[in-house]
């Protein structure tokens, strides 16, 4: 049995309020319903303005409406943090001031990663 996270819940919340795509587009100040359709099908992602509008209108955060995208972006961000930590460790810096600065950055990044791992374990 497959159990995956759905693309988004925009369609669910729109239908819960009994709106059609054109009416939701009007509320967001869009000219046509094409963008709403694209967002519902997962072909397009909301802009920052649209995220704020959805939060105000549906009272749902971005992570609740787009759980898969939120997780994907989070995972990618933390992969990049891990890469940056490795890259900073490999750098051969002569200046003492710069070395101290790199160590501070690495410490900060490692603590962010630890917090993320703790959060993931709590979710499990």
């Amino acid at each position: 049995m497959r159990n995956r996270i759905r693309k988004n819940y925009l369609r669910t919340w729109r239908k819960k309020l009994g709106l059609n795509q054109r009416q939701l587009a009007f509320i967001l100040g869009l000219k046509s319903s094409a963008r709403i359709s694209a967002m519902e099908l997962g072909h397009a992602f909301p802009t920052a303005r649209e995220c704020i509008a959805f939060r105000a209108f549906f009272r749902q955060s971005f992570e609740e409406l787009w759980p898969r995208l939120g997780l994907e972006v989070e995972a990618r961000t933390f992969t990049n943090i891990r890469r940056l930590i490795v890259r900073l460790g490999r750098q051969n810096v002569q200046s003492v001031r710069k070395r101290v600065q790199i160590n501070i950055i690495r410490k900060n990044l490692v603590s962010i990663l630890a917090d993320f791992r703790k959060k993931q374990e709590e979710l499990r």
Binding site: R2, R6, R11, K16
Partner: protein, 164 residues
């Protein structure tokens, strides 16, 4: 959390409901048109089914039992779906009218589980369906447009009742 897709094909419309756990996340009815049975099944019903499976990626598909009459649109559609899901994809479940009524008898207690009473109970549980609730049907009236969708919701609730 299992995603459940329930589909109720009728002669004129096809109703569907999608649940994620106990939460109703998608529902609707689509008109099949007035063409012949193969066209209604292949041009409207099956593409709708495929798009719902692609979009929601259900773990279970709940269908009604086939009718005794062989060539009905429901039976044709069920044959096609069973063929499509025979190799891979979500698991299949089907319920007879008696099983559904047996499930709702427990919720309605003293009342007889008629379609109308079941629909009213569903509206009490899922207020978002209130706009689609048809008025009680007179014997000379044809079935309302939204009834197949309520039947699909009923089947999904029956699956949840027997499995969760």
């Amino acid at each position: 959390m299992t995603t459940i897709l329930a589909i109720q094909p009728e002669a004129r419309q096809i109703g569907y409901a999608v649940f994620e756990g106990a939460a109703l996340i998608d529902w609707g009815t689509k008109t099949l048109g007035v063409a012949g049975i193969p066209e209604r099944v292949n041009r409207v019903a099956l593409p709708l089914f495929r798009s719902l499976v692609d979009y929601h990626e259900p773990g279970v598909v709940v269908l009604p039992r086939p009718t005794k009459a062989g060539g009905t649109i429901r039976n044709q559609f069920l044959v096609e779906i069973r063929y499509e899901l025979s190799n891979h994809g979500p698991s299949l479940a089907s319920f007879s009218r008696n099983q559904i009524q047996g499930c709702f008898k427990a919720f309605l207690r003293s009342e007889r589980p008629t379609k109308d009473r079941i629909m009213r109970l569903l509206v009490a549980w899922f207020p978002e369906l209130r706009g689609a609730l048809p008025r009680p049907r007179k014997p000379w009236e044809s079935q309302d447009y939204w009834v197949p969708m309520f039947d699909a919701v009923t089947m999904a609730v029956t699956w949840l009742h027997y499995n969760d």
